[in-house]
Structures are given as C-alpha cells and as structure tokens.
C-alpha cells in the first residue's frame, strides 16, 4: 500500500473500532460485557478513535513527522478489523454451559471474589426482640413480591448458608430466585437437583465466576442449559459435606426472560 492508501486504511481501522465501541455503549450491549465502572471508558475511547480517524483524513496534506504513520499492510488491516467484526456478529453476549462448567461453580460464599466475613451485627434488645426500623429488621432488606415470596438472588442464599443470623431470615421461607439453569453434575444423589447459576463479575465477562445454588425439583431436567428460569419454593439449608448448603425445594420452575442485569457485581 502506498502512503495515501495506508493513511486511509489506518483511518478506516480507527473508524471501525470507534464505531464498534460506540455501538456497544449506545445499544446497551456493553452491560453484558463489562462492569458498569468501565462503560464510560468504552464510549470515551470510541469517541476518541472516531476523532482520530477523521483527523487522520483531515491532516492528509499536512507534513508528517519522521516518526509518522508507517505503511499498513493487508494482513494487519484484516487482523485489526476482521476478528473484531466477526466476534461482534457471533458473540451471543453471554457464556454457554461449556465455559461456565470449565470455570467451576462457586457453591461456598467464602469462594466468592471480594468476599469478606460480615462484621458483627448490632445486638438485639435485652429481651432478644428486634426493633422495627433498626439495622436488624429483616423487613428493611428482604423485599417481597406481590405473592408474598421473598425476592432473593443466588448470592443472598449463599451468604445465608454461611451466616447463621442471615440464615434465619430465609430458612423455610418462600423465596423467588431467577437465574440460569445448569444440570447438577455433583451433589445430586437422587438426581432431582439442578444448579441455579448467576455470573459474578469483577471487571469483564472474561473474569466471570459462576455462582450457583441447588434447586430440588422433579420437573425441570429437560430445560435447555443456561436458559433463564424463575424458581419459586422453600429455602432450606441442609448440612452436606460438613457445611450448610442452600437448596430451594421448588414449587414451580418456569422459563423466563433474561435478567436486565445479566451479571452480579
């Protein structure tokens, strides 16, 4: 490629990247890839790349420094654009069962990234009762849906399994939890359990760790892997393998739409 074509090629590459980064942000697709703290960097970079792309064209006639643009070959041009565009097209914006199973499930709250043991809670009053409106009052942090089920996340039940005080808030209560279905390959002696999974992310999807709780149900073994399901049932915490494990004894398991926020942070 001669110098002018190379400049067009460089400008084109920057434009492709700028458009893709801006597209991911504006379409909201970025939420399936990055922690919210990184979204702003993506759109700013997209804008800067678009500006650079235009600036390269507008300064075409200006004198270049001796360190100016080098020639852009066909191979780098393809390498810098084709994989990005192909991945943008192919990527389903979520992990399938293969990658999730390869990462191994987090079944213990102590294995959750960023977990730190909870501080001692404030003491209840002298007679052991919990005053309404205090930090100990579960009604402040346990939200119920219209049917009276506690709306919980998989992580809440994992925390509850590891914390006696929190376990009391959930144990034998009716809960509703949404997550992704995966067959239980271990800890399933009677063959009637599956894993309800959510991905926990620190920075981007590449560091996602699958967080899973068990659901005991007779009627859900033929669901597609990683399909989103809403589980309603009773939260239990049987001791298995020497520690409390969260198991929802399901009343109903229904397929549902993907969560707006596919990750937990």
């Amino acid at each position: 490629m001669n110098a002018i074509l190379s400049r067009f090629a460089a400008s084109g590459i920057l434009m492709v990247w700028g458009i893709v980064l801006t597209y991911f942000y504006l379409s909201g697709r970025i939420a399936s890839y990055l922690h919210p703290a990184f979204h702003i960097y993506t759109v700013v970079s997209g804008g800067v790349l678009l500006i650079l792309s235009l600036a390269l064209l507008l300064t075409m006639n200006g004198e270049s420094s001796e360190h100016g643009l080098s020639r852009v070959g066909i191979l780098p041009l393809l390498l810098l654009t084709a994989p990005l565009l192909a991945a943008t097209k192919i990527s389903p914006s979520n992990f399938g069962a293969t990658a999730v199973l390869n990462r191994g499930m987090v079944h213990n709250i102590a294995d959750l990234p960023g977990f730190s043991p909870p501080q001692d809670p404030a003491l209840p009053s002298a007679d052991g009762s919990v005053k309404e409106g205090t930090m100990m009052d579960p009604s402040l942090y346990l939200k119920r849906n219209a049917d009276g089920y506690i709306a919980a996340e998989t992580v809440d039940l994992l925390y509850a399994a590891g914390e006696p005080a929190m376990r009391e808030d959930f144990e034998n209560k009716q809960v509703e939890v949404t997550g992704q279905f995966l067959p239980a390959l271990t800890g399933n002696p009677n063959g009637d359990r599956f894993n309800l999974t959510r991905l926990f992310v620190m920075c981007c999807a590449a560091d996602a760790r699958p967080v899973a709780i068990s659901v005991q149900s007779q009627s859900s073994t033929d669901l597609p892997k990683m399909s989103w399901v809403k589980v309603r049932g009773k939260a239990t915490f049987p001791v298995e393998g020497g520690r409390h494990m969260p198991v929802i004894v399901a009343e109903s398991v229904t397929e549902t739409d993907a969560h707006d926020e596919s990750f937990l942070y």
């Binding site: 890839y33 100016g68 990234p113």
Partner: protein, 307 residues
C-alpha cells in the same frame, strides 16, 4: 471429573474475546496517546539529565517509576517503547514495564480489599515488594545483554534514528500535535495487532480449558506455585482486579496466590504477544521463563514464613 479437560465453543470464545478487547482498548489507547506526546514533547536530554549514572540505581529508578507514573500492563508497552527511543536505558524500561502494573495505588488497594480478613496488609506489602524486587532483578539481568538481543530491529532503528527529534524547538505546535497523533496512531495499530493475537489465545484457554484440573495441585507448595502461575498466564487478568480472583482459590496456599499475583501482571499469554511489539521473540521467551523461575523460587522460599 465430569467435564473433559478441553471443550471449545466458538460462542464462548468470541464472548470472552470481545469482553477483554472492550476492557483493554481504552487503556492501550491512553498509552499510545501518551506515547505520541512523549515522542514529540519529551526532550531526550531531559531523560539523560535526570537518570542516575549508576546502572543499578537507574534500574531501581525504573521500578520506582511504576509508583510515580502508574500504568496498567496493556497500556505500558507503547509508553516504554517511546521512552526507550528517548534514551531511557532498556534495563530501566524493563524494570518499569514489569513493576508498574503491580506497584501502583490501584493494585495495592484492590489487593488489600480482596484479602480482607486474610492478612491483607502483609499480603499487599508482600505483593508490591516482591513485584518490585523481581522487576528490578529482571532489569539488572537485561543490563548484561546486548541491546540487539533485546529490542526488535525496527525499535532498535527508531532508537538510533530518534536523535534530537522531539526536542524540535522550531516546529510549530500544530505540526507537532499532528506528528504526535501520527506517532500515537502508529503505536496503537502496532500494539493492537499483538494485543488481538494475545487476547485470542488467552480467550481460547480461559474458556476451553477445565480450570478444575488445577485443584489437585493445591496440596503441595511445590506444585501449587507453578500451577497458579500457569493459571495466571492462561487467564490473562487485569492487574487491578486479579487479586479478587486469586483470593477465591481458597484451596491454594497463600504463597501460590502470591505467585499468581506477582507473575500474572508481568507475563501472561496476552502480554507475551504485546511485548513482541517491542522485544525480540527470543527475549520475550527468556523473560517469561526467567520470571516464572525467579517468582516461583522466591515464593517457594517465602512458603516458610507465609501460612
């Protein structure tokens, strides 16, 4: 073992690939914009004036630069490429490149937060201290190497050619800004080629390899340390968040996690490709091997004092 050790899915691969690209590109762009400005506005004589004449002190200063001018591992390569062209000794540049992703405030804070309740202060100090020490050792090792064996031919030529450029007292500001943009764009395109290749390989391994394979190795320090360093190399995590992942490997001893957190930001599959934008392949391979062995041996030694 219920799942095979290797199972590939193109959808999973493309998803992980895109997520790392989207996360990393802003930092590479920042690094390359900075490199363009260094190219045009940092006088070469400034570098030589402030660098200590003593080689050991200059290498140590390279490590300290990481604290003063923190950069993540993705963005630092274009910066050191320009700094080398401006007269920073390669040994100091290598020390800076390896230390900067570890000895910076963001990494320190994230390590402290991730290891709360697990001796966070000691662990953070050990990570930063060991990272600095290994980076300086690597820089000192480079001191004894001929520059032609370290730098790629094109980079070597740019060092030779750079001369007084960037001191350009006579060039108008507008022209220098255009030249800075062109230098930055050139660095961006050069580094991105290697970044894409590295992210591709890292994404393949991080999605297709069954990571539970590493668990049986956690029982013995001599196996756990290299296993965790290998895992760090495969996962190619960002140094600002890798501590949160390392802390979750509860089955592994603390020294193995330390090895993961020192080796990972210095060398992983993605970085091996990015380093190849500046250094010879043979040097990158030797650096990878050297960092693996030195970090591993130091951590094994620390196993005596660290539970």
């Amino acid at each position: 073992m219920n799942t095979p050790w290797f199972s590939f899915s193109v959808q999973d691969f493309s998803y992980a690939f895109l997520s790392v690209l989207l996360e990393g590109v802003p930092f590479i762009l920042l690094g390359t914009l900075l490199s363009g400005l260094i190219d045009q506005f940092l006088p070469s004589r400034l570098m030589t004036r402030f660098l200590p004449r003593n080689a050991f002190a200059a290498v140590c200063l390279g490590g300290v630069l990481g604290m003063v001018f923190p950069m993540c591992e993705c963005g630092i390569v274009p910066v050191i490429r320009r700094l080398i062209a401006k007269g920073l000794p390669v040994s100091s540049a290598v020390a800076y490149m390896l230390a900067a992703p570890i000895v910076n405030p963001i990494t320190a804070l994230s390590t402290y937060a991730a290891f709360r309740g697990q001796g966070a202060a000691e662990f953070t100090a050990l990570r930063l201290g060991l990272g600095f020490f290994v980076a300086v050792l690597a820089g000192l090792a480079v001191l004894n190497l001929p520059i032609g064996a370290v730098l790629k031919k094109t980079i070597l030529e740019s060092v030779t050619l750079s001369g007084p450029s960037g001191d350009g007292k006579t060039a108008p500001l507008g022209r220098r800004l255009v030249a800075a943009m062109e230098s930055g764009v050139r660095d961006f395109l050069d580094v991105m080629v290697y970044f894409i290749l590295g992210v591709g390989v890292a994404s393949l391994f991080s999605t297709a390899v069954n990571q539970e394979l590493f668990l049986p190795l956690s029982l013995d320090d001599r196996l756990a340390i290299p296993a965790m360093m290998t895992l760090a190399g495969i996962l190619s995590l960002c140094s600002s968040s890798d501590a949160f992942i390392a802390a979750t490997f509860v089955a592994f001893p603390a020294v193995a996690k330390l090895a993961f957190l020192v080796f990972g930001p210095m060398m992983d599959l993605k970085l091996a490709f990015i380093y190849s934008a500046v250094f010879t392949r043979r040097f990158v391979a030797a650096l990878a091997l050297g960092l693996f062995v030195i970090t591993g041996l130091l951590c094994l030694r620390l196993a005596v004092v660290l539970p």
